[in-house]
């Protein structure tokens, strides 16, 4: 009998806690989503990928994605951002594996990826571009001038797909990360790097031996991604994104990293 009472008491306690929880969520409409750790929005990103995500000299996370997600998380009921560094290959599967809540890694929205993850509204238009050594900026400008030469791309990116489709007469060399990709270009192991425009532009700004020789409009757009079934979270993210845009935070962050106003 005594034992039964303990069980009943436990049930009552659990019910109390549950009802407390549900009361909470009813009071604020945005709080229906849950995150893997309370009060935090955990983001998976493949760092370093400047100017979107990297750690500064003091180890603080910085970059366009990081700043924008910080603003979005703040709009989502004052969440703070927690960053997990993760290789880009298959990164869009990380939220489903409960490794993080969301992926923010300069990731292009593709149909293929949409089959495996749920994407936010696009937050950035990304064009492809060719980065070459500055003295060849006039000559290496298209597929014809790069025939027989080697082009560096990053593995599993849309740049790699674009290169394979449009630069069929060139050797395509894939690199797992951007650090090695640019080193290969600077050391002359490859003739050009085909990469998202902002990333190449950032590199050309920092290293004047390199220059952008061509840009290609692809209609590519970046999005954040969450687990396929997590509609509550993506709605909250989209609302946060819209709020950041209307408040001017988005424009400010854009200007900070790309030096121009958003389109």
């Amino acid at each position: 009998m005594k034992r039964f009472r303990t069980v009943a008491a436990t049930f009552a306690a659990v019910a109390l806690v549950l009802s407390a929880c549900s009361d909470d969520s009813e009071s604020s409409p945005d709080a229906e989503f849950t995150t893997i750790s309370d009060g935090k929005l955990t983001v998976c990103t493949d760092s370093p990928y400047e100017p979107f995500e990297w750690q500064d000299d003091d180890g603080n996370w910085t970059g366009f994605d990081i700043d924008l997600l910080t603003a979005v998380a703040d709009e989502m009921g004052g969440l703070t951002l927690e960053v997990i560094d993760q290789p880009f290959e298959g990164i869009w599967l990380a939220p489903a594996a409960k490794k993080c809540d969301i992926v923010g890694s300069a990731m292009t929205i593709t149909e293929e990826r949409q089959e495996a993850a749920l994407f936010s509204d696009p937050y950035f238009n990304a064009d492809q571009s060719l980065l070459v050594s500055a003295d060849q900026a006039e000559t290496l400008v298209d597929a014809a001038s790069l025939a027989g030469k080697t082009i560096a791309v990053q593995s599993n990116t849309t740049g790699e797909t674009y290169a394979n489709e449009n630069f069929t007469d060139s050797t395509i060399k894939s690199f797992a990360d951007a650090t090695a990709l640019f080193l290969a270009l600077e050391s002359g192991q490859v003739d050009a790097a085909l990469q998202d425009l902002p990333v190449n532009a950032d590199r050309a700004m920092k290293n004047t031996d390199l220059a952008i020789s061509a840009t290609f409009t692809t209609g590519e757009q970046y999005g954040f991604a969450v687990a396929k079934d997590n509609t509550a979270l993506i709605e909250a993210v989209n609302a946060g994104l819209a709020a950041a845009k209307s408040s001017g935070d988005y424009a400010e962050i854009y200007k900070k990293y790309f030096g121009v106003d958003p389109e």
Partner: protein, 263 residues
Amino acid sequence: MSLSKRQRANLLRYFVYAATLIALALLIFIVDWSKLSNAMFKWRIIKEQFPDILTKAARNTLIFTFFGFIGGLGLGLILALMRLSKVRPYRWFAATYIEVLRGIPLLVTLLILGFGVPIATGWTWPNMYVQGAAPLALVAAAYIAETIRAGIEAVPRGQMEAARSLGMSYSRAMITVIIPQAFRIILPPLTNEFVLLIKDTSLISVLGVTEGTRDLAQFGRDGVGKFANATPLVVAGLVYLILTLPLTQLVAYMERKAKRVRR
């Protein structure tokens, strides 16, 4: 009730058996097998890995390993003899080389040699195989040198003394008497080195890969990106196992044979 020593030992053994069984049962319970096989053992994807994973990826891994090991063995033998030399600068050089190359992570050595050397000298690597296998051989040499040195030192002193008293020169005695015996002693650690080298080749892809030079690990990673599923990586892991198992069995056989001869 007091137990004899033997009874106590038996009791402990049964306890360990029981604990193992319980752990296994728990594992079977806890693991979501259908989810696991869906994420990591998709038959449809496994089939698509063949035959390229063997004819291209495994082939490249073996090429890198083979040249890395042959180079490492040759250079390692020279370094070991230098370390044991009476000439002090030889000893200093060998000791410094071994400490530096053993202390720096292979990944960093790959980047420094693969990109740093072209930047410093303007000379570019002729192809991926040389660019990847050369740093691998240089690092392997540092480890192998220490193994060989230990082997040479383990050959009884009397062997050298006897050879010299028969009128052999130091180098002749070293080559025909000491080194062959040393190699018999170091066969197991040398196998270890070879197996480690097979797996170390997975780092070479940091230097960039073209369609034809992808190694096993990169092949698996690209598959993960392509299929949005971890199966290709698991298959790649199994192929590594298939590569190492016959090798370790062969060495075990050679060891048995060597023991028989000795008797």
